[in-house]
């Protein structure tokens, strides 16, 4: 059978890096991040967070093909390094989920005590 193996959608190959970065050759302050074995979950999350950053002029993402498990995120900034802006977005998201985690625990505890 020639069905693609399911784990290829979420497990990195032995020699595969999680991320590759390519500087845009024509546009200044722009670059393309290729995130392997990730999909809309991370792609859309990162794109929306990038757009909140005032240093970002453009941010977009796409999944080029449903059978190729990679996600492309394109960023153009107003002057900052795309890599730094990208890292900033990720750590902002991380702290948001950290906050959500703590708040959810507290809220569940409060709800269980009330009932």
């Amino acid at each position: 059978m020639n069905a693609p193996e399911r784990h290829k959608a979420y497990l990195l190959e032995d020699d595969e890096a999680r991320v590759e970065y390519a500087k845009d050759q024509k546009i200044p302050n722009a670059g393309l991040f290729t995130i392997y074995k990730e999909d809309h979950t991370i792609g859309n999350l990162v794109r929306m967070q990038l757009l909140r950053d005032s240093d970002v002029r453009f941010a977009g993402y796409k999944l080029p093909h449903p059978l190729e498990h990679r996600c492309l995120v394109k960023v153009q900034t107003t002057g900052a390094k795309p890599k730094e802006v990208f890292l900033r977005s990720i750590s902002d998201l991380h702290s948001e989920f950290d906050y959500l985690d703590r708040y959810f625990r507290e809220e569940v505890l409060r709800f269980k005590e009330a009932t």
Binding site: R6, H7, A9, Y10, L11, A17, R18, V19, E20, Y21, A22, K23, P28, N29, F33, I35, E38, D39, H40, T41, I42, N44, L45, V46, R47, M48, Q49, R52, D53, S54, K81, K83, F86, L87, R88, S89, I90, S91, D92, L93, H94, S95, E96, F97, D98, Y99, L100, D101, Y103, F104, R105, E107, V108, R110, F111, K112
Partner: protein, 342 residues
């Protein structure tokens, strides 16, 4: 530059298998990431490998193996008894997290499977054997083999038979039906349960329902509505399907009753109808309702299949997302700096 948000949570309902909660002050992409991870990337355990010793039932081996895969298996941390993994790198997640107890088989250094990456379940049911213990009038009826006949060799993991005790009381069966046996038939096998995620096969998905919707903001012009005669107010209610709009107090005299939204989830679908209608009814031509979907507040409805209680499920999903983001952060940090001189 306020880039990061401080989301708030409000729990409306929370039981072991069902929850409704709201997340405030966040973005649709965060809500959707959470939903996607809960469906497809939270780690659970399910039967993955079955060795049949005897199967003379009407269903063939593959069908039974498939049915076994779909039986939820619940991991329960037992204080003082459960032996957790000693090779775990982080203690950030709760000890109720199944990954603190089991490894993925692919990451385990055992040959095939071991107590750290798999759970063995056995079943042996023969109609004739069981018939001896059944009451006389039931002796010839088909014998229902259920998840209750599965015997787990690991005390931390057991099949889930029913969602609630009430459901167990209502049911005539002892658990989830696997197959029915007739006279002379027998079923014997060992099943190996392993860790997995919903992306590999949906039998590992811990949820049967996981949806979110934007919170609606509804504003009703109470003054204008109260000036309408009761018959016209009834007309507004009838503009939507039953139960979407209604009165706050059905027993009060008609002139004291206030029009309220009864079903927050559905009102957004019918707000245009109500708008047009109230514009026609109003002497000034002004509509008496406005409703829009929030960009920042979301309502989640989650139903678990039983493998993980919903509160742990949400925490596992958040943890998984944090792991993904950290992984990405480290990978971007490791990128070479050679072509980054602008």
């Amino acid at each position: 530059m306020a880039r990061n948000r401080m989301p708030k949570v409000k729990v409306n309902e929370m039981e072991e298998h069902y929850a409704q909660f709201e997340i405030h002050d966040t973005d649709c992409s965060v809500a959707n990431a959470l939903r996607r991870v809960m469906i497809a990337e939270v780690v659970t355990m399910a039967v993955d490998l079955v060795t049949f010793e005897e199967n003379t039932s009407v269903l063939n081996d593959e069908i039974i193996a498939h049915r076994l895969g779909l039986i939820p298996l619940k991991y329960q941390y037992r204080e003082g008894e459960t032996r957790l993994r000693d090779d775990i790198r982080t203690t950030l997640s709760s000890e109720r997290d199944i990954q603190r107890r089991f490894r993925f088989t692919r990451e385990c250094d055992c040959d095939e499977y071991c107590q750290w990456c798999a759970v063995k379940l056995t079943l042996g049911v023969a109609f004739d054997e069981r018939a001896k213990h059944r009451p006389e009038r039931e002796k010839d009826l088909p014998l229902v083999v259920t998840s209750n006949d599965l015997i787990s060799e690991d005390n931390d993991v057991r099949p889930v038979h029913f969602e609630t005790d009430a459901e167990a009381d209502d049911s005539v069966d002892q658990g989830i039906t696997i197959v029915k046996l007739a006279k002379g038939q027998e079923l014997r096998f060992t099943a190996i349960a392993k860790l997995g995620i919903g992306k590999e096969h949906s039998k590992w998905s811990p949820v049967s329902k996981c949806v979110f919707r934007p919170q609606p903001h509804v504003h009703l012009d109470d003054d204008a509505i109260s000036k309408l005669p009761p018959a016209l107010r009834d007309l507004i209610i009838q503009a939507c399907p039953a139960g979407v709009l209604g009165y706050n107090d059905d027993d009060a005299p008609p002139e004291n009753r206030k029009l309220v939204v009864k079903n927050d989830a559905a009102i957004l679908d019918f707000v245009d109808d109500v708008k047009t209608l109230t514009q026609r009814l109003s002497p000034t031509g002004k509509s008496m309702i406005s409703a829009f979907a929030s960009d920042t507040n979301f309502i989640f409805d989650i139903e678990s299949v039983g493998s993980i209680p919903v509160d742990d499920l949400v925490l596992c999903a958040i943890y998984e997302l944090k792991r993904k983001l950290l992984d990405l952060q480290l990978a971007v940090n490791d990128l070479k700096d050679d072509d980054d001189d602008d």
